[in-house]
């Protein structure tokens, strides 16, 4: 494990947890760092909605195929097991788990993943979601990597708490609902930009995020203005 990269990542994450941060933008940064720092091939943060259904809040890649693989785990898979038990689920070789999760293992292999980790996001005594890491190659994980992944899952939970404070929301349920609605908003904006420019969903997301940063806007606010056509947004309209 590269100590300098590790320190840099946590400083960067802490720096981004400022008062007016955007939850989805932040969680995307966190999933990107899971890929960069922990050597994962893909990462996603899933939150449970009020029905206990896991929904993707952020992923290191916005392509539909990856989002589906995360989402598929509402039926079976390590993320669902992790969410239900509140304990980490670490699988170094998915091939050995085909009996346990037949559909998930098949879908993961189709997407080129051979190993997976799922780490619980705990808020006091409640499990609110999970951080899910996929690895292309099967094989034992670096023993230092699992506690680090859990630390990143804890940072994701802290960002929820931080947003709650910023929005003065006192009720977890209501706050999760708002967070999930922001995600819906981002998906709608991605769809609009992708269609308009003939680009894919990941390109649409990075374009929106880049624009938000360049203009010092919260990603959700920008997404709403873009969908509503309520502002000129030069550079994004064309």
């Amino acid at each position: 494990m590269n100590q300098r990269l590790l320190a840099k990542t946590f400083v960067e994450l802490a720096d981004n947890l400022v008062a007016d941060f955007d939850l989805i933008d932040f969680l995307r940064l966190l999933t990107d760092r899971c890929v960069g720092m922990l050597g994962a091939s893909a990462a996603g943060v899933l939150l449970a909605d009020r029905d206990g259904e896991l929904r993707v809040m952020a992923a290191s890649d916005e392509q539909v195929r990856l989002l589906e693989l995360f989402q598929l785990q509402n039926d079976e898979g390590p993320c669902l097991d992790c969410f239900r038990t509140g304990a980490p689920v670490i699988v170094a070789n998915l091939s050995g788990e085909a009996d346990r999760w037949p559909r998930f293992v098949a879908a993961a292999h189709r997407s080129g993943f051979g190993a997976v980790q799922a780490l619980p996001m705990r808020l006091r005594d409640e499990v609110v979601g999970a951080l899910n890491l996929f690895h292309a190659a099967p094989g034992p994980f670096d023993p230092d990597a699992t506690p680090l992944a859990q630390a990143l899952a804890d940072v994701a939970t802290i960002s929820l708490l931080q947003q709650r404070t910023a929005h003065r929301s006192t009720v977890l349920n209501e706050q999760l609902q708002s967070a999930l609605n922001s995600r819906v908003l981002i998906e709608q904006a991605k769809g609009k930009l992708a269609e308009r420019r003939g680009i894919d969903m990941e390109q649409a997301f990075t374009t929106l995020r880049g624009y938000a940063r360049a203009h010092n806007r919260r990603l959700s606010d920008l997404a709403r203005a873009f969908i509503d056509d309520s502002e000129a947004l030069p550079g994004l309209r064309s």
Binding site: V171, N173, N181, V184, E187, Q188, A189, G191, E195
Partner: protein
Amino acid sequence: MRSDNRSARIQVLVAEQAARRGARVGVVDVCTAAVAALPVGGAGLSAMSRSAASHPLCSTDDVSEQLEELQLTLGEGPCVDAFTQGSAVLTSDLLAAEVQDRWAVFADAALEAGARAVYAFPLQMGAISPGVLDLYSQVPGRLDAEELADALAFADTATLVLLDSRIDGAGDLAGGRSADGRYEDLGAYRAEIDQATGMLTAQLGVGAEEAFVRLRAYSYARGRRLAAVAADVVAHRLTFPPSADTDRTDDEA
């Protein structure tokens, strides 16, 4: 997909109210079912818009009716704030000092009407926000976690009911809604439904709300699942031409 979830249970409660009336599910059934299920005195629902005039759609009693009209007339209150902020506004006691400061005119008028606590829930689906559901209680107090989750589910059901009422020829709905009146679960794979909605805003040159209504109308008319139609849109297997008539939609597949 789980069938024992909260959304499904709430939708059954709403469908039962419609069956009792002998009518198709409407927003009034959401209000009636919410009052029966939650510790509140009444419920009201208003259509809200950033660009057009807002107006009350229904209420279960006189107090609720007054609360809706007061807020829309005064332009202040929990309902107005819930719409503007896009999050629930839970007021446990209208007599509280900060509430009196926040809505100087509304708070007293609402107390006089007979309300003591007001909970307002925006109807929303990303950028789509067609209205607000207001619940009131004659006594001060909070909704507990379960009650709040139910109230949020009632608001989500109201969103779908309200948007579906805008589909032309909605009386002949088939497909997407099952016989017991339940709506298709939007939870699973919903990313594609939202992306498709966004794509249709560009294809059709309409707002997000109209785009979603057109997507629903298409899936109803073909008896197909909304998620499946959305997946076709995202994969460019299906394109909606910018015309007013959904029947002329071309299948490219």
